[in-house]
């Protein structure tokens, strides 16, 4: 039986920061930034982090797939919101997967994403495992990395059976090559010279492992259809390809112009983009680099054509809004001291016991369905809300996260505190019943909201408790986009 990729999905934040705006702000200090000032990078909204992006990628990946029978959820990131609270556990909870799946966080290296994939493939059994990589890497203002990085997430469902891409071979090599690092308690990466990383890192460490994988699979380098190697630096992947004998046209776009390098997710983001563009029989070579490298070689199958449509990386690249305000990026990433007003001082403490007791409501958006009258409602309560029913303890779980709804009423509130004013919120009436006065997110200030507009839910940060380092999540409504692409 084949082992490989069963399904895939991606997520990129909607806002695209224009690099020309970053250069405009900082080239007085570092004129070299002008050379990088082309294109745009993804920019996470204030209420997005690696966990929320992972959830969105996971939802996309699991489109049309049963969520109950997973063997594991491996989450990779170098920007986990929690140091000691399992991040994969939050993602699994929000995705409402079976609780007996093995949930694991994989961290501390830019190849954590490919390592998670390799690990999941190596342990693949009857039940599929979900691999998700997500990153929202912090950079100092005016750092060249601020230009080249992006925020995003990638998800792959792997296992045995009817795979869309079978694993031909995989190999890894550990080399403690410190091209950059981030020590304990540090916010930002400390990086060494790019030319050295290219000459002694990429060019020395990657080729032997690729050769090993190609030999293992008995595939010639010239037969590679897509070579996914994430580094942002120009021509690095092309140079390696030339050295290895991989055709120049197989070198995959590293998405620098449209997305930026999404950290440990990026090799998988590129893999997913390659799968979206592939035809059956294509060979896709993926390399993850960081203190050594992981190399994986896949071959796509006929099943690729049957995969249910999903947004994917292609769809998320299209779901975009140009952001020309660099100050907003600084504010969202806490890179400048900003007067946020006394209203922002409200204590956002979370009672952990309350949180646990109401976790299904807040993290899964689980509502109720009255077994006496059938009324679907949110939240799930003791007594049915229907004026004609009122049955006590009659409600069974009813999930709302994947529902769409329509606007009943809405506002754009400039009085209440929001990190991104105005605060958009309103009443959403869900298809099939139930409603909620709810926050909106990713609202384009130029688009007109209207009663009746169709909305879908997204998992986001509800509040940051900066005094205690906690953040709580909930689901927010966003206008439905009809940009699902064929898988």
């Amino acid at each position: 039986m084949d082992t490989g990729i069963i399904a895939f999905g991606g997520y990129l934040p909607k806002a695209r920061l224009q690099r020309s705006e970053i250069a405009k702000a900082h080239s007085w200090f570092n004129p070299g930034l002008r050379g990088l000032a082309k294109g745009e990078r993804t920019m996470a909204n204030w209420d997005e982090d690696s966990v929320t992006m992972a959830v969105e990628a996971g939802r996309d990946c699991l489109t049309g797939h049963d969520r109950a029978g997973l063997s594991g959820l491996f989450m990779a990131s170098t920007s986990f919101p929690f140091q000691d609270r399992q991040n994969a556990g939050i993602v699994g909870d929000a995705l409402d997967i079976n609780a007996d799946a093995l949930t694991v966080d994989l961290a501390s290296s830019q190849r954590a994403g490919t390592s998670a994939l390799a690990l999941a493939l190596r342990s693949a059994g009857d039940a599929p495992a979900l691999v998700i990589a997500a990153d929202k890497r912090q950079t100092k203002a005016a750092a060249p990395l601020e230009m080249s990085y992006g925020d995003g997430a990638a998800a792959l469902l792997v296992g045995q059976g009817d795979v869309v891409a079978r694993l031909l071979a995989a190999s890894s090599e550990a080399v403690d090559f410190v091209d950059h690092y981030r020590g304990q308690g540090e916010e930002f990466d400390y990086a060494w010279e790019a030319r050295w990383i290219r000459d002694e890192g990429y060019n020395q460490i990657v080729p032997p492992v690729v050769t090993r994988v190609l030999e293992q699979a008995s595939v010639a380098a010239s037969d590679i259809s897509s070579f996914c190697f994430p580094p942002a630096a120009r021509n690095v992947a092309a140079g390696l390809a030339k050295k290895l004998g991989v055709p120049a046209e197989a070198v995959a776009d590293n998405l620098q112009a449209t997305c930026g390098e999404t950290g440990t997710a990026h090799a998988l983001v590129m893999l997913i983009k390659a799968l979206e563009d592939a035809k059956p029989g294509d060979r896709i070579l993926v390399v993850g680099f960081g203190q050594g490298c992981d190399v994986l070689l896949f071959e796509t199958t006929e099943a690729l054509k049957k995969l249910a449509p999903r947004v994917g990386i292609t769809g998320h690249l299209a779901r975009r809004r140009a952001e020309g305000n660099y100050h907003k990026f600084l504010a969202f990433n806490d890179l400048m001291v900003m007067e946020r007003g006394i209203r922002s001082e409200l204590d956002k403490a979370t009672s952990l016991s309350t949180h646990y007791r109401t976790k299904d409501m807040a993290q899964k958006m689980m509502g109720g369905e009255c077994t006496a009258c059938g009324t679907v409602q949110f939240p799930k309560t003791n007594i049915c809300v229907s004026p004609n029913c009122g049955a006590v303890d009659s409600q069974k779980d009813h999930p709302f996260a994947e529902k769409t709804g329509r606007l009943n009423s809405f506002t754009a509130d400039r009085l209440t505190y929001s990190p991104d004013p105005p605060a958009y919120y309103g009443m959403v009436q869900f298809e099939g019943g139930g409603r909620l006065m709810n926050d909106f997110t990713d609202i384009d200030p130029d688009e007109e909201l209207d009663v009746g507009l169709e909305m879908r839910m997204m998992f986001r940060v509800k509040d940051y408790d900066n005094a205690r380092g906690f953040r709580r999540y909930f689901w927010k409504a966003t206008p439905v986009q009809t940009n699902a692409t064929k898988g």
Binding site: E345, T411, Y425, G426
Partner: protein, 401 residues
């Protein structure tokens, strides 16, 4: 079948502080100011008060918990004191406690006082506050203008109203209240405004601009009630009596069931039917003389006049633009300036409204006195949000009508 409160309780005396930004006055100062006027108006000794109710909503900003702050500020004689809180209906809730105590025969004379000292937060608007540990997990960081402003979006969708027409009717409501407030020496805001100014004001919560929102004020109001018999025995004539007190609280259906369209107040409609019935009023549009409604926002007043069955559903814009609710109109609404201009010290507002009715019915309203003699007046409070609220209604009127 309950016989209701009609004519069982009379107002013996009332007082109201000046509302406004009372930077140098504490809640205690405001309470004493309203109380002193009410006691003098009642013509009784403090020792004759049998029980007292304190209505205040955001007590953590000023007096703290319980009714002890009232007992201390007024130096009451170890009588029963209770604090009530029911959002913006807190003042009316205190009034209800005192009125019911008298009607039950448990007390001869009872006092209700509402107070709010809001201007100690350091910023404009109502104080930002938590909503409880569970609600904080999923409610939006909803503000008053943000929730009430949504009435406008839903009202427009339901009645097919053009954005500009609704905005102009809302502006007329605010201009009218500013005109009325200008004549009221105790009002917080006493300047007149123009339509141009209203329409060009900064946006607070779409579509509510600055002048669609009431002021946040410090203030206190106090009422002393007794039976009509005792009032007469104390030499009072031309009594103003309580005709109805009704409350209605949301049970979650607007917020969580599927029927409510967001354009009106379910609670107000229920309470209004009950209140007119309790007062024996058959045709409110013909019989009512005055309204003091909870005009926290212009749009609230607009839809409320339909929910109180004065304007037909979808017809409030026409009545408003026709001047039906102006001071010289058929039924003046907010003749004292309303929450918009008299001000809105939350716990005091319900009693402030009754204070205006009391003055108008006794012909003591000075420059803003309604020319045609008022018979029935209704006060209306709305606490919370359109999708989840408490509505309180009071009808007062001349004894015997």
């Amino acid at each position: 079948m309950a016989s209701g409160i009609k004519d069982k309780v009379a107002i013996l005396g009332m007082g109201c502080s000046k509302f406004g930004e009372r930077w140098m006055d504490s809640a205690e100062d405001l309470m004493v100011e309203a109380f002193t006027e009410a006691l003098e108006d009642a013509g009784i000794e403090k020792s004759q008060i049998d029980a007292a109710w304190l209505g205040t909503a955001i007590e953590e900003q000023h007096v703290g918990k319980s009714a002890v702050p009232l007992a201390k500020a007024l130096r009451l004689a170890y009588i029963p004191v209770s604090r009530v809180e029911n959002y913006c209906a807190s003042g009316t809730e205190a009034f209800r406690g005192a009125v019911y105590a008298v009607a039950s025969g448990a007390c001869d004379i009872a006092l209700a006082l509402g107070v709010e000292k809001l201007k100690d937060t350091g910023y404009g608007g109502l104080p930002q506050r938590g909503r409880g540990t569970v609600n904080d997990l999923y409610w939006p960081n909803i503000s008053a203008p943000g929730s009430f402003g949504q009435l406008a979006t839903a009202y427009r969708a339901k009645h097919g109203v053009n954005k500009d027409d609704l905005k102009r009717a809302m502006a007329h409501i605010s201009i009218k209240s500013h005109d009325n407030g200008a004549l009221n020496p105790k009002a917080h805001l006493r300047s007149r405004i123009t339509e141009e100014k209203v329409l060009n004001a900064p946006m607070i919560a779409d579509p509510l601009g600055l002048y669609d929102c009431c002021g946040v004020s410090d203030g206190s109001a106090c009422v002393i009630v007794t039976t009509p018999e005792i009032a007469k025995s104390l030499g009072k004539k031309d009594l103003v009596t309580v005709k109805a007190i009704q409350l209605s609280g949301s049970n979650g259906a607007e917020a969580e069931y599927n029927n409510w369209d967001g354009s009106y107040f379910e609670t107000t409609r229920v309470a209004a039917q009950n209140a007119y019935k309790e007062a024996g009023i058959i045709n409110p549009r013909e019989q009512m003389s005055l309204f003091e409604v909870h005009d926290c926002f212009s749009i609230t007043e607009l839809v409320t006049m339909e929910d109180l069955f004065i304007s037909p559903e979808g017809g409030a814009i026409r009545d408003v633009m026709d001047g039906f609710y102006d001071a010289d109109g058929k039924i003046p609404c907010q003749i004292d300036g309303g929450l918009k201009c008299f001000g809105h010290p939350i716990g005091a507002s319900g009693i402030r409204m009754i204070y205006e009715m009391y003055l108008q019915m006794q012909g003591r309203a000075g420059a803003r006195q309604r020319q045609q003699e008022p018979v029935f007046g209704m006060t209306h409070n709305l606490g919370g949000f359109p999708h989840q609220n408490v509505c309180s209604l009071t009808i007062v009127g001349k004894e015997g009508v």
